[in-house]
C-alpha cells in the first residue's frame, strides 16, 4: 500500500482460540512490582 504501512497485523484475534493456557510469567514476577505490565510479557507458545 502506498499510504499505509502495517507494522503488525491482527495478531490478537488469532490468540482467542489457542490462548489462555496460563503458563506464561505473572507480570509482577518480572521487573516490576508496582505497575501492571502484562503487555510486555512473552507467550510460552512462541518460545
Amino acid at each position: 500500500m502506498k499510504h499505509i504501512k502495517t507494522l503488525t497485523n491482527k495478531t490478537l484475534q488469532n490468540t482467542v482460540k489457542k490462548g489462555g493456557c496460563g503458563e506464561c510469567q505473572t507480570s509482577c514476577q518480572s521487573a516490576c512490582k508496582t505497575s501492571c505490565t502484562v503487555g510486555n510479557q512473552s507467550c510460552e507458545h512462541s518460545k
Binding site: 500500500m1 502506498k2 499510504h3 499505509i4 504501512k5 502495517t6 507494522l7 503488525t8 497485523n9 491482527k10 495478531t11 490478537l12 484475534q13 490468540t15 482467542v16 489457542k18 490462548g19 489462555g20 496460563g22 503458563e23 506464561c24 510469567q25 505473572t26 507480570s27 509482577c28 514476577q29 518480572s30 521487573a31 516490576c32 512490582k33 508496582t34 505497575s35 501492571c36 505490565t37 502484562v38 503487555g39 510486555n40 510479557q41 512473552s42 507467550c43 510460552e44 512462541s46
Partner: protein, 453 residues
C-alpha cells in the same frame, strides 16, 4: 476502536482490538480520523487542501484493511473474557516474603523499611517449605511455577533461600513441575557465593538501583543515613556481567524529586547495564516525593527524550532494553492474558514470613486482605472472588482506553490505595502507561524504518 497519535515525526494508527499497528502519511492520518462517520465525498470536501484522487486512494486502502479485520474492528472479547474469568483458577506464582527486615531505609518503601506495618521477622524453612507444597498442591496442571524471593531484603535470610531452592528442585520431577525462581535484592549483602548461586538457580534477578549516585543516595540510605550507591554499584556491574545472557534487571524508582529520570536510565546504560527498568513511584498524595498531576508534562517529555535516545543508541549498535518500552508485536501475550488482569489474588499470592497469604505483595500488612495461610490454604474465598472479577471490562475507565490491551486494567493495589477499591484505576498511572505504550510503538516504527534503509 481506532486510536491515532503523532510522535517523533511518525503518524501512528492502532486498531486496538485486533492489535494491528499502522504507520501512515499525513493524508491517511486525517482520513482515518473522519472514516466511518463521513462518506468519501464528505471527506474530500472536508480535506479540500488535498488532491481528491489521493483521498480516494487512501479511502480504498482503509477500506481494504477494514475488510481484512485490521482496522475499525469491534471489541468482541467481553463475553469471552467474562467466561474466561469464571474458569476455576489455580495458584501458579508466589511472592515469598523471605525477610520482613531490611538493611536499607528507602524513603519511598511501601514495605516501610521491610516491616510491612508489623514486626521484623524472617521466614523459617518450615514455613517456606509449606509455601512450596501449597503452590504445588494448588497449581493443577500448570507446569511452570514462579517463586520470587522478596522482602524486605531476602539476602538477610539467604540460608533459607538456598534450602528452599533445593527443596523446590526436589519436588519438580515427582510432580511434573518446573520452578522458576527469581530474586529481588538491594545488593548490600551480595557476594560471590550469592552471585554464583543465583546464576545457577535464578531465572531472573532484580537489582534495585535508582540511577545517578545523588538520586540513589537520597532515597535509598542505609539505616545510619548514609547513601548506599557506593556499596552496590560495582557488585551489580559484576553480577550483570556474570549473568552472561541470563535475564536480569537493574530496577529503579523515580519520584517527584528526579523528574529528569531519563538521565538515571541513561546513567545505568552508560555504566554498562543493558536490561533496565525505572518506574514511577506510587505513594500517598501528601508525601512530597509522590508523582503529582502537575509533574506529568515533564515526565512525558522525559519519556519522549528517552525513546529518541534509545532509537539513536540502537542504530549505533549500543541499544539496551527499557522494561517499560518493551512490546513484542508478534509474540506477545494472548487476549485472555491481556484482558483478564495481572492475576493478583487468584494465580499470584504473596506469603508473609509466618505463612499468611495475601492477594499480592502490596497488600501485605492490610489485615482485611489476608486470604488464608500456607497451612490451611485459602480460607477467604470471598476476597479471592472479588479479585477474580476484576478485568478491563469491570473498570469503567478502561473501556474507552486504547492501552487496556497492554496494562490489563492496571494495578489493583494502586487502585485500592488511591480509590479505596480494587476495581478502579489510578489516573496518574494510567496517563503514564498510555504515554509509554505510545513511545514503545513509535520505537518499533522507527526501528522498522531503519531495517528497511
Amino acid at each position: 476502536m481506532v486510536y491515532q497519535y503523532k510522535n517523533n515525526g511518525y503518524n501512528m494508527v492502532l486498531d486496538v482490538e485486533s492489535g494491528s499497528v499502522h504507520v501512515v502519511d499525513d493524508l491517511s492520518y486525517d482520513v482515518v480520523g473522519l472514516y466511518g462517520t463521513h462518506t468519501l465525498k464528505e471527506i474530500q470536501k472536508e480535506l479540500s487542501g488535498y488532491d481528491a484522487g489521493e483521498i480516494e486512494e487512501v479511502y480504498e486502502e482503509i477500506r481494504r484493511l477494514e475488510s481484512e479485520g485490521a482496522l475499525f474492528t469491534r471489541d468482541e472479547y467481553e463475553d469471552y473474557i467474562t467466561e474466561f474469568k469464571r474458569r476455576p483458577t489455580v495458584v501458579k506464582a508466589l511472592c515469598l516474603h523471605i525477610a520482613h527486615d531490611c538493611n536499607l531505609a528507602c524513603r519511598y518503601c511501601f514495605a516501610e523499611e521491610g516491616e510491612y506495618h508489623g514486626d521484623r521477622s524472617m521466614m523459617s524453612l518450615e514455613v517456606g517449605k509449606q509455601a512450596l507444597n501449597f503452590l504445588v498442591e494448588n497449581s493443577g496442571s500448570r507446569r511452570n511455577l514462579e517463586v520470587d524471593f522478596f522482602g524486605g531484603e531476602p539476602l538477610m535470610n539467604f540460608e533459607v533461600v538456598k534450602q528452599l531452592v533445593a527443596y523446590g528442585r526436589s519436588l519438580e520431577e515427582k510432580h511434573n513441575k518446573k520452578f522458576r525462581f527469581t530474586l529481588t535484592t538491594n545488593g548490600v549483602l551480595l557476594d560471590d557465593d550469592v552471585m554464583e548461586f543465583a546464576n545457577r538457580e535464578m531465572a531472573n534477578v532484580v537489582l534495585s538501583i535508582d540511577g545517578r549516585k545523588e538520586v540513589h543516595d537520597k532515597m535509598r540510605p542505609t539505616r545510619n543515613g548514609k547513601g548506599s550507591y557506593d556499596l552496590i554499584i560495582d557488585k551489580f556491574k559484576k553480577f550483570a556481567e556474570m549473568r552472561n545472557g541470563k535475564s536480569y534487571y537493574v530496577r529503579g524508582t523515580f519520584t517527584h524529586d528526579n523528574l529528569d529520570f531519563s538521565k538515571d536510565v541513561l546513567h545505568l546504560a552508560d555504566e554498562g547495564f543493558d536490561q533496565i527498568s525505572v518506574e514511577p513511584v506510587v505513594g500517598p498524595e501528601e508525601e512530597r516525593y509522590t508523582i503529582k498531576e502537575a509533574d506529568l508534562p515533564k515526565i512525558m517529555e522525559e519519556y519522549d527524550l528517552l525513546a529518541k535516545e534509545i532509537i539513536r543508541r540502537e542504530k549505533e549498535g549500543k541499544g539496551f532494553t527499557f522494561f517499560h518500552f518493551m512490546i513484542d508485536l508478534t509474540g506477545g501475550p494472548c487476549v485472555a492474558k491481556r484482558l483478564s488482569g495481572c492475576g493478583s489474588g487468584t494465580e499470584y499470592l504473596a506469603v508473609t514470613p509466618w505463612g499468611d497469604l495475601y492477594p499480592c505483595h502490596q497488600f501485605v500488612g492490610e489485615d482485611e486482605f489476608c486470604v488464608g495461610n500456607v497451612f490451611d490454604g485459602v480460607t477467604r474465598r470471598d476476597i479471592v472472588s472479588e479479585f477474580k472479577k476484576t478485568s478491563v471490562y469491570s473498570k469503567e475507565d478502561c473501556r474507552e482506553c486504547f492501552a487496556r490491551f497492554y496494562c490489563s486494567g492496571g494495578c489493583s493495589a494502586n487502585s485500592h490505595k488511591l480509590n479505596g477499591t480494587i476495581n478502579g484505576t489510578y489516573e496518574v498511572g494510567c496517563k503514564l502507561e498510555r504515554k509509554r505504550v505510545e513511545c514503545a510503538l513509535m520505537i518499533k516504527a522507527a526501528l522498522a524504518d531503519q531495517s528497511e534503509e
